[in-house]
Point group: none
């Protein structure tokens, strides 16, 4: 399981990366491997639904065992299938980049981070920077 210390580093470094890149205000959620929330921050001036989107990117990645970018690719191929998963998933399933699985150096799954607020590509870049800053690995 991911520690609060690691999760807080991911949240902090993700937000810093967003500021360094001049992005729109970001929201970041870190879930453990069981899908329970560990750490979270929503930047000022974010729109109301950002918490659910951040958790839905991370939760969907955990639910399907791939990044939310790959969930997006799956949705392009099989839109009805991916849409059907949302109502039966604890945090929903958001098919857009920004949700990334977190592993330790040995490939053990620790959890997932979900980022939202700017473009999906930028959200994902910040998520990857956050994971790296904590000394952990993103699962490809």
């Amino acid at each position: 399981m991911i520690s609060l210390e690691h999760a807080n580093r991911i949240v902090g470094a993700t937000l810093e990366k967003g500021k360094a890149l001049g992005l729109k205000p970001l929201t970041v959620a870190v879930l453990d491997a069981g899908g329970d929330l560990v750490a979270f921050a929503r930047s000022d001036h974010s729109s109301a639904m950002r918490p659910q989107i951040a958790m839905g990117k991370a939760g969907g990645a955990l639910a399907l065992g791939v990044s939310s970018r790959t969930v997006g690719d799956m949705a392009a191929d099989r839109p009805s299938f991916i849409a059907s998963l949302g109502p039966i998933s604890r945090h929903g399933v958001i098919p857009a980049a920004g949700g990334v699985l977190i592993t330790d150096g040995n490939g053990t799954l620790l959890g997932a981070v979900g980022v939202t607020g700017d473009t999906s590509d930028n959200d994902e870049s910040c998520a990857l920077a956050g994971i790296e800053s904590a000394g952990l690995k993103a699962k490809n």
Copy 2:
């Protein structure tokens, strides 16, 4: 926050506009900026799901910070992404015109109105007439 007096004016003027244009029976919901219902009316002979559609237009506009017409444009570009938001949104997210954000003269967000019953374009026209009648502004 929007007052009940303002919300009732929006509801009343929206319904009057629909009658003046000879539209099908309309349903109108006004939510405050936090997404809580303030005023609501469903015309006689409306179908059963109209309350949820009206709230889903207004609630989706609040969730994403744009009109439900713009949500519809987003859904045309990214259908799976917009579809994924419904199950994790309090009132759902309806991607069709008729949900309009309400501001005061200074740009402060007060809430949103959602209208359904006729074509989406006509629903939106009546929503805009309702907001104007209350002396408030639609957010573009």
Copy 3:
């Protein structure tokens, strides 16, 4: 089915009764016999959960075919049974006075009104005044 005209009269007269009695700000919901919302108003300075409580009083009354006062009596006798109904009921089931079934002069069920904001007894008094003002009958 209850007409919007009748439902609006009930909402308006219920709020007026509350003001005449100097009660706290009231929230009023009128559902049709199928449980769909017809008319609604939330007074300024109400707490956030009032819409759900008003609909939960009216919806619980419809669900069990008695007033929400009687639902409260049932809950005193069988608390676990009544508590179990909330999660499977569309609007929840609130076991407190203020939700009243509405009939026409011939005993036909038209819908229900739910009122919240002051004491349950006062909420119910206003609901009864609202129904009477519309020329309809409360089901005992």
Copy 4:
């Protein structure tokens, strides 16, 4: 609305207070006045449901406009009524101390903090310390 900076201070100071008192691992959630999550942390070795309990204490306080300690007092008097609110409340309604409303110096409601992990009394003590540390006020 409460800023992320304030919310993060509340979370950090609440956890520090828990450590200083030698309490069990705490979970802390800060919601804004509309009930949306702003900042969150769950200490290592917490049980799985702590996120929902923390949000249910804060969310119940916001829903009813009182502390979750007072919600607990209400539940002692009217158990079925308070139990009925959970299923229709966005974050549930937890009737136990540890959820505290947050105001600025002028009495404006900014949001609520929910704390769980130790006894309810200790949870609440830490919540109060967190709010004070951020230079804000608990609503009595």
